[in-house]
Amino acid sequence: MWPEVTADPAFKDKVSSARVLAVGAGGIGCELLKTLVLTGFKNIELIDLDTIETSNLNRQFLFRKRHVGQSKAQVAAEAVLQFKPDVKITAHQANIKELKFGVDYFKGFDVILNGLDNLDARRHVNRLCLAAGVPLIESGTAGYLGQVNVHVKDLSRCFECDEHAAPKTFPICTIRNTPEKPIHCVVWAKDLLFPRLFGRQDAVTDLDEQRKEVNGSSSSQADGAVQGPSFFLQKQGENSYDYAKRIFRRVYEQDIEQVKTMDELWKTRRPPQQLDLKEILDQQTLPETANGYSSASRALGLTESHKAWDLCENARVFLASIARYVDTRPDEIGTLVFDKDDDLAVDFITAASNLRALAYGIPTQSHFDAKGMAGNIVHAIATTNAITSGLIVTEALKILANDLDSCRETYLTEYAERKHVVMLNPSRPSQPKPDCMVCGCSMLSLKINTTTATLATFVDKVLKSRLSFNMPTIMCGDFLYEEGDGLEDDELEMYSSWLPKTLSALPGGGIGNGAIVDVQDQSQHFSVKIVVSHQDNFDEEKHPDGVILEGSAKSTRQAHHASSSANPVAELSNGAQSCPDDNEVVIVGSKGITGFKRARCDEGDDDDVVILGEPPARVGTTPNGKRTRL
């Protein structure tokens, strides 16, 4: 019986001979590895691609300052052996998506334990666990919040039965013309302006589209018409500060002035105000670029990272960071991508976004906060990861005890005053969703403009980005497209020549309205059917990439239980076991209705991360403290 079984000697033997795979050696991973060996686990494989960074040291307690730059998996394994030398830990500095960690590899374990930081890898591991029939324990933390979920094939939901929020994106028009929040300004600085100045010149950014658009409507701009992307490059012989000032005037004077002419934007909004560089700078001087500082803000004496700069300080940092890039790091210009650990890049983003915020009347951010926004930096503390590791090991023990009935998913919430506060609130894992595209049987529906969208868009934006395919094989009628190892050169050449073609123009009759596309991934033992419908236009605000992808209701497992699947409520039912063979639909605590849908928003900068869409914090503060559960 659970938990008495934990004291049983036979069970202890079972634990010491069990084989477990821990995916991730970061925030959760370090804690997990420690808790596993202290519990008596002796055969552990550990996979993590990352190397140790200074900002890990506040919680990844197996690492020391001297380990910065080394493999997380290796160092974690060695550190654990210091206090538990009689365990076998096999460390891999590798990506879990590598083919060598295939379904046969997964089959070698009794349970898989995830401490991952991104949706893509989580989905990949989920698919392999399903293919291998090995239970998966999922986890994630963010600040004080944490969660642990148990996924056992056919008995509980798989990771992909529930929707997990993709990283937040913003309508391009908001970013380009009508920012309302600090984050809009940060995204503008990081994704539009920074690449234009310092990134690859052949990648046209949306900043230029604005120019074209505006020029089209106001022909009075004498200088605008001839300005292409090269406007943003330093001219031959141009002084670095002259160049920086020219950029300033362009983006904060001319561009703002132009966007103000788009009257329809300002009917319900307050229009922005141009920034007058001369007035702002007044008599203030600008620092020499070659004065030994790598950071522009430091060169200006702005060392308090938690205090927001004023208008003049932002302008000086903006100019000084551009000048510093072109003078001290000329070789990198044209290839730079934003890196949160590059102080100069963070200086530039902070100043550039704050200046835009000031033009639009939006609150400014400190260097610290702007860095957090631009770098998607996770909020992470040791305690939450420690608690989460305890919960993961608890579930792993239940699985080894073969006591699946005792398995629980648990949400860790923050303490909030009441006489009785449930901080760790376990609930039974939900039933599998019959219409899950991964563990159930369902078709997806895709709306896309088949006459303009290319195969490359389909592969990258739909299959890889939205659906986390690793190496898709696409079949539709006579059409076949493959990726992966083992392709002949001529095949590779043929397939890549198709990528720029539009879907409807592909060989074999094309992928047009009504086509059913079969997509498989050998590396994930995963396949899905996608029903394509053609749509000419998309609402740019809602669907900026011109793709609408939805799970469909057509599900064979569902149909088996509810013969008339037209009933929309049927989709909410997950009563695969209790649902009688007629039209009566039993709703067994569908999390979708009670607001308990888990949405994970991840893709942070390192380890831990995951956020609980249905924030337990909110649940924990409801007046009566009651949760509707199964």
Binding site: W2, P3, E4, T6, A7, E31, K34, T35, L38, T39, T54, S55, L57, N58, R59, F61, R64, K65, Q82, F83, K84, P85, G143, Y144, E304, S305, H306, F368, G372, I377, V378, H379, A380, I381, A382, T383, T384, A386, I387, S389, G390, L391, V393, T394, L397, R408, T410, L412, Y415, A416, E417, K419, H420, V421, V422, M423, L424, N425, P426, T621
Partner: protein, 316 residues
């Protein structure tokens, strides 16, 4: 207060994003004493050293040779004559060189050592028998030092907090909009002896079953001057039945199964240490920073149902 050094800002970056720079500075000014170096204590010590308290003192003269299983801070090849406190200090100091970590000689509170205890903001006792904990709790109450005690028995664990009168600030919750408005609040806490002798018939129906078990163990200790051991289980059970009947305890508040798990629980399960130690780590951070709602005054956790519950018992 001085601003954070560059080294501090770099190491503490991710947590400053959770609790802010002001909390980090206050943490760095705090002094904590941890008595007992069990597996649970190791978790607590790790958590608050990583958080960046100003100083942490560890007290436990038990030699490494005599056990301290479950303390992951002690290397396997340690000199067996070294105290578990000294061995743990070496690892903790390496883990965060920005914290001043040291070992204090002794095994627990005594009137001779008391003078040296005054410098601490927070004293945490893990393990130890109940009489010792109550003594220390009394002394801390009289000297205005925040007191925590916690322990893990097999699959069961709990913590108790006595912050006396504790004033803290709280971000005002104005619904959806995050606000920077802080309100100041004060909470008062009863002493351990008072918190443990709430009449059974007055206990609310939601009271965790572990609370009554703590009362039974306190009574056992009072009678035999030692805490109950696994071999005492039948005696403890009959004591519990008598107490439940005499005290008019609601049946819902007594679980013989949990009593067995608690009394017979051998050692500390690492998973339970990680969980209780994590909760306690958070509380210490809240208390020394004076920010955020601190837990009042018991936290109970048991693997039999996996629930972790904070409850106010014996509070005014």
């Amino acid at each position: 207060m001085a601003k954070l050094s560059e080294a501090e800002a770099a190491v503490y970056d991710r947590q400053i994003r959770v609790w802010g720079v002001e909390v980090q500075k206050r943490l760095q000014a705090s002094k904590v004493l941890l008595i007992g170096c069990s597996g649970l204590a190791a978790e607590v010590a790790k958590n608050i050293v990583l958080a960046g308290v100003g100083s942490l003192s560890l007290m436990d003269d038990t030699p490494c040779s005599s056990g301290a299983l479950g303390n992951f801070l002690i290397p396997a090849n340690v000199d067996g004559s070294m105290s578990v406190a000294s061995a743990s200090v070496v690892t903790l100091q390496e883990m965060n060189p920005l914290v001043n970590v040291r070992a204090c000689p002794g095994l627990g509170w005594s009137s001779e050592l008391a003078e040296g205890f005054r410098e601490y903001d927070v004293i945490v006792q893990s393990g130890g028998n109940l009489a010792e904990r109550q003594q220390l709790d009394e002394w801390c109450s009289e000297n205005g030092i925040k007191f925590f005690t916690a322990s893990v028995h097999g699959t069961v664990g709990y913590l108790f907090a006595n912050l006396q009168s504790h004033t803290f600030t709280l971000k005002e919750d104005k619904g959806k909009e995050a606000s920077d408005m802080c309100v100041e609040r004060t909470k008062t806490y009863p002493r351990l002896s008072a918190a443990l002798c709430v009449p059974q018939k007055n206990l609310p129906n939601k009271t965790h079953c572990l609370y009554f078990i703590l009362q039974v163990c306190a009574e056992f200790q009072r009678r035999l001057s030692r805490p109950p051991a696994a071999a005492d289980i039948e005696d403890v059970k009959s004591l519990a039945r008598r107490m439940a009947a005499d005290g008019g305890l609601s049946e819902r508040l007594y679980s013989e199964r949990l009593l067995s798990l608690f009394v017979e629980g051998a050692g500390e399960l690492a998973a339970v240490c990680a969980i209780v130690g994590g909760i306690l780590g958070n509380e210490i951070v809240k208390v020394v920073s004076g920010r955020g709602e601190p837990l009042r005054n018991f936290f109970f956790f048991s693997l039999h149902d996996g629930r972790g519950v904070a409850q106010e018992i014996g509070c005014a």
